[in-house]
Symmetry: C3
Subunit: 131 residues, 3 copies
């Protein structure tokens, strides 16, 4: 098992940031050639998804849909004004797992890994675990 972490600086209140290349570099460094890779974001207002990284409009549409699905203002109890971000994080999930082999993530042709910022801009951490 190998563990790494890196940070990502987000620039908007909500956005999807492609972190595929950074993860692929850690796969090469991890010394194991095959296994599974856990991508974990230890925050309560972020998510991790795997989806199309080729056309940036897909990430735009996903983010935009979630903004419509979970309104910023609603009859929320939590007083910090970011319940929408906590809810999006719960729906999307704050981790994903990908198998890898021959030093490469087994991503499909169009797939990339995205950090979903739901309450930014902030500095965020990602923990990678290779097993």
């Amino acid at each position: 098992m190998k563990t790494y972490s890196f940070s990502v600086k987000t620039s908007k209140n909500s956005e999807l940031i492609d972190i595929t290349k950074t993860i692929e570099n850690f796969v090469l460094r991890s010394s194991k050639t095959s296994g599974i890779c856990l991508i974990y974001s230890p925050h309560t207002t972020t998510g991790i998804i795997i989806n199309e990284a080729y056309d940036a409009d897909v990430a735009f549409d996903i983010n935009n849909f979630l903004n419509g699905l979970v309104p910023k203002q609603l009859d929320y109890r939590h007083s910090e004004g970011n319940s929408n971000a906590h809810i999006k994080s719960s729906i999307i999930g704050n981790s994903r797992i990908i198998p890898y082999s021959n030093d490469k993530l087994n991503l499909g042709q169009w797939e990339g890994v995205f950090l979903c910022e739901f309450d930014g801009p902030r500095q965020r951490n990602i923990i990678l675990t290779f097993l």
Copy 2:
């Protein structure tokens, strides 16, 4: 690899129950000091999430939002009257994975693990696998 299970008694039709401390006790018992922990709920009408455990209003807001998103009554075919619970379970997912090190879950500052009851009250089981 070590596997443990424990049960949780829920008291409402839908609620989020903080199970962080129970899991942390099993981390200590697991004899491995670092790895990943799979938290799995073998039920079709529950979910597992990782989110803010500090202000209980966050869990309230998440549960309340899901109740609004997936109505109990709709044009469902399943005759048991709990399709909303099956749908919530599919959206949230019935497992989460957390890396751990030095006998501690690598949770963020405000993070906790919750069992989401969507069709209670019932007795529920959680399976923990440490790798």
Copy 3:
């Protein structure tokens, strides 16, 4: 670690297909008697869920609800007309993990594993990793 893959031919634009038996056959073949099984779909418009496999109406209701939640036509930017499928895939997630022991998936009594097709019909691949 053992890795296998298999393909599934879907027949509708959106549907849930029970793949439990295929996975159980690979559990038997995997030579390890206990561990965790990662079920990963390397596509941007599919999902994997674990839910009730006994009454087919549950899968019908889940699929039908998602069709209502994420409309095919909306103010999407992505020009291929399948943003709804990418969004559903992000909400559901394209993998699930199940612990297994004594050569059996630790599924609950009514649980099965489903491939969710959101942009079919197509040929889809599933990657299984046993750890």
